[in-house]
């Protein structure tokens, strides 16, 4: 039961009538902080009319309590001591708003993340909580009513990355009638999913479920698809982003190319010479090529690095001849820059697979028959380099195949995290390899992780099929034979930890189940979009549970594997969520911005202009007629740098006024 304590000290500084609410958060706070004592302490502070502690302040009854007190005790300032303001400040602002108080007459005290969760000593934690509450009570008395700013929102959306996440988000938004710009770095959309053969656990073919969506993107009137393009600059703020996109020359007029590929056939190269990126170098392509048969857009690309015309200017240009009247080929094409304006941005930049060269003991790059899992996806894909035949580099079928899990995952020497998808895709590959070749298949795993709908059942199925499971991390793959049966084969050495001895298992093919890593340019991308990365390099969500696709930059959302390893179902779900979040912003028609802008008291301004270069947004200008600086409130983002730099103290920042901060400083330091 909540309790009211009537203050003995009735003094009322500046007419503030403060209510203090200390949250237990179950035992999250109350386990370390003596919440009762904090509330009793607060009750004695000048200006405090009501002080309570309650089990869960953010619950409905907790909020109702505040609203009731506001009415009954005519409170005009509220302090809530609970969790981080980044979590529940909006909640409590709404609470007091509904009780008729201006939402900015609230101050939150973070006694969970900053106190109870990080300290062990109950006495010291309680003392710290007291200090913080005291500061908040003193500060809140100076708070002024403020209004959020409303700015209209541009309804266009930018989606960066054309893998399954970007495709799904773009289609969802376009279906809802929004204009979408989809920017993809490669010449085609499709991402990693387009390279897969089958998808777990249902074993439906990746192309069958993906290519219809790709085609839909290509033909949707609401989607502007820019492949072979990259975002190079982002400016503006939520609702009003200005984005610059670089479009690399593909030396083909996209509007003229029909995708007939006659130029490819006609190329002076009779055979491909360059490792084919899409097939991971397992086949060769020509200088003019279509990345893969279902590529979207169905437009060829010319690679200037290998095309003779670019090297010597002396090519017979049989391709141009073949193109004929269509005149789609243009060797003089130049890079172009496009400027677009969008209101929201969805990042779906995906992942990179771990490069197993970093783990030399597995022999990748040294033994030809050691493959990555992605390479095997291409090998067993009917549209792949071997037309779906799983054969070794010498054309022979493997009789035994070893699949090594956790390559570049769960390893302090490379990446510490679990890549989440490898167990399941290894099972899928085990099944496909067994089905196609009848080979003995060995899975080397540490822990089998199959949480997901239908996943454990799939594992059961593999066990039924007679695939071997050896629980142990592989120490090495070697061609060094210690037994006649090992001659000429690759030997996998691991401890069979369930049998408790070391085993050497000779195989013909080794599949390295490589983990997922952040894209190599993730840091540059996050800087451009002004978002954060986790220490591993994944894009950081606003809250791991409650705001999984939002970022700390309003209007920028993330989806798919750029946020962390995840499989296709999770990726699609996140892409849908990101699209919905973007739509929620757009359909509100305007965005509310925090009122933390700076303002100038003209009387005090000496016109020294030292604030003007401090503003990164050019929001401050000099009014010549008055010889005073003025701030454009629409451009100001509220960092407060000019405030701190003003020599005459004539600039102030809403909600962070000097006096408010001085009061907070003195509040935390004042002894009781």
């Amino acid at each position: 039961m909540p309790e009211t304590r009537t203050p003995t000290n009735g003094s009322n500084a500046g007419g503030a009538r403060v209510g203090v609410y200390v949250c237990h958060c179950g035992t999250n706070i109350a386990g370390t902080v003596d919440v009762r004592a904090v509330s009793e302490y607060a009750a004695e502070l000048p200006g405090v009319v009501v002080s309570r502690d309650y089990k869960y302040m953010c619950s409905d009854p907790g909020q109702a309590l505040i609203q009731q007190d506001v009415r009954e005790h005519s409170l005009n300032r509220i302090v809530v001591a609970s969790c981080s303001p980044l979590l529940h400040e909006p909640t409590f602002r709404r609470t007091i708003d509904r009780a008729g108080l201006n939402p900015f007459l609230l101050q939150m005290v973070n006694i969970r993340e900053h106190v109870s969760w990080v300290h062990l000593d109950k006495q010291a934690a309680t003392a710290k909580a007291n200090d913080l509450v005291r500061a908040a009570v003193r500060r809140v008395s100076l708070h002024k009513p403020l209004q959020k700013r409303r700015v209209p929102i541009n309804t266009n959306v930018l989606v960066v990355g054309g893998g399954i996440a970007g495709i799904h988000a773009a289609l969802t938004l376009a279906e809802a009638g929004k204009r979408v710009y989809l920017v993809e770095r490669e010449p085609t959309i499709g991402g990693h999913m387009a390279m897969f053969d089958k998808t777990f656990p249902t074993l439906d073919c990746a192309a069958c479920i993906l290519t219809p969506k790709m085609t839909a993107v290509g033909s949707h009137p609401g989607i502007t698809l820019w492949t072979y393009s990259e975002v190079v600059k982002v400016a503006g703020y939520v609702g009003n982003y200005r984005v610059k996109v670089k479009r690399k020359p593909r030396y083909i007029h996209e509007d003229l190319c029909l995708g007939c590929q006659e130029c490819v056939t006609a190329c002076v190269y009779k055979e491909g010479k360059t490792p084919d990126e899409f097939n991971l170098g397992l086949s060769k392509r020509k200088p003019v090529y279509l990345p893969f048969p279902q590529a979207v857009p169905q437009k060829v690309v010319i690679d200037p690095e290998t095309c003779i015309e670019f090297k010597s200017k002396k090519c017979k240009k049989t391709c141009v001849e073949a193109c004929g009247d269509r005149q789609a080929i243009d060797f003089t094409q130049k890079e172009t820059l496009e400027d677009i304006e969008v209101g929201t941005i969805i990042l779906a930049t995906g992942f990179k697979t771990f490069d197993p060269v970093r783990n030399p003991y597995y022999g990748y790059g040294r033994y030809p028959n050691v493959y990555t899992s992605l390479e095997v996806e291409r090998l067993i894909n009917a549209a792949g380099p071997t037309a779906g035949e799983l054969v070794l580099r010498d054309g022979k079928r493997p009789k035994a195949v070893g699949i090594i899990h956790c390559v570049g995952s769960r390893d302090a020497n490379t990446n510490r995290w679990c890549s989440k998808v490898c167990c399941m895709y290894s099972l899928k590959l085990a099944h496909l390899v067994k089905e196609r070749t009848g080979a003995e298949v060995y899975n080397f795993y540490i822990d089998m992780r199959t949480p997901g709908k239908g996943y454990e059942e799939f594992y059961d199925r593999l066990l039924d099929e007679g695939v071997h499971f050896v629980r142990g991390r592989v120490a090495e793959v070697t061609d060094w034979a210690a037994h006649p049966s090992e001659k000429g084969r690759l030997v996998i050495r691991a401890e069979d930890t369930l049998a408790a001895f070391v085993r050497r298992i000779p195989v013909d093919m080794v599949v390295l189940s490589v983990g997922m890593e952040p894209q190599p340019d993730a840091q540059a991308v996050r800087r451009m979009f002004n978002i954060s990365c986790s220490s591993e390099g994944w894009f950081l969500e606003r809250h791991p549970k409650l705001a999984p696709v939002s970022t700390f930059t309003e209007g920028v959302f993330i989806s798919g594997a750029c946020q962390g390893p995840k499989d296709i179902p999770d990726t699609v779900a996140q892409a849908g969520a990101a699209a919905a979040e973007a739509m929620a912003l757009i359909d509100a028609q305007f965005v509310e911005l925090e009122p933390y802008t700076a303002f100038i008291s003209e009387d005090a301004c000496s016109g020294c202009r030292s604030c003007i270069p401090l503003c990164p947004y050019q929001a401050i200008s000099f009014a010549e007629e008055k010889k005073k600086a003025t701030i454009n409130e629409v451009l100001c983002k509220g960092c407060g740098t000019c405030v701190a730099g003003c020599p005459s103290g004539s600039i102030q920042q809403n909600f962070f006024e000097d006096e408010e901060i001085f009061e907070e400083i003195e509040g935390v330091l004042a002894y009781a």
């Binding site: 769960r410 991390r473 401890e495 408790a500």
Partner: protein, 196 residues
């Protein structure tokens, strides 16, 4: 067929031993062990061990002191550091092997005439006495105390090495032997004082 009943009671565990291993130098991360077996598979000697290094790590952190200290594995470790370098959790396995050896010698957990602890003790004695090791003398001393017949079987090699000038009969000794003694005594004193 001889049947053996195996069940471990909680009372068989020595929680103090488990605490010790995770607090000893190098044991900081032993609780992170995944039991992946990479240590065992990269160990050149694991094929000869009664408990593979992986099992030893788990038995230690669970406090099965008897099993751990009477295991042959701790004596087989040659300190090649292959396990430690590859361990995905960066557990200092090699160093823990040293710690277990030290503990096993302290608590006399090894078979009689087992050469490794004998060699270790003779080694230390020689350091205290001369400050340096003379290999020829060390080998003789160890075999005298463990397996005299091996001394005879190896005499051929010994003679060859002697002829090649690689088995000097002269004992190596440092000049300021008193420093070594003072050093060793100081360590013993500090250890006692700080209860290390």
């Amino acid at each position: 067929m001889e049947l053996k009943r195996t069940v471990k009671f909680e009372a068989d565990r020595d929680p103090e031993f488990a605490r010790w291993i995770s607090h000893t130098v190098g044991g900081e991360r032993i609780r992170h062990c995944l039991q992946c077996g990479l240590c065992s598979a990269s160990c050149p000697l694991s094929l000869y061990m009664d408990y593979t290094p992986r099992r030893l790590m788990h038995l230690s952190r669970e406090g099965f002191k008897e099993e751990v200290l009477s295991s042959s594995s701790i004596w087989l470790c040659t300190a090649c550091y292959a396990c430690m370098v590859e361990c995905p959790k960066k557990i200092n396995i090699t160093h823990l092997m040293y710690a277990l050896k030290e503990r096993a010698i302290e608590e006399r957990f090894y078979p009689k005439r087992f050469p490794i602890p004998v060699m270790a003790q003779q080694f230390c004695r020689m350091v205290r006495g001369s400050g340096r090791i003379t290999e020829s003398w060390l080998i003789v001393r160890v075999f005298l105390r463990t397996a005299i017949w091996r001394l005879l079987s190896m005499s051929g090699l010994g003679w060859k090495l002697f002829l090649a000038g690689r088995m000097p009969a002269k004992k190596e000794k440092i000049q300021r032997q008193d420093e070594i003694v003072a050093l060793l005594d100081s360590v013993a004193e500090t250890r006692k004082e700080l209860a290390l």
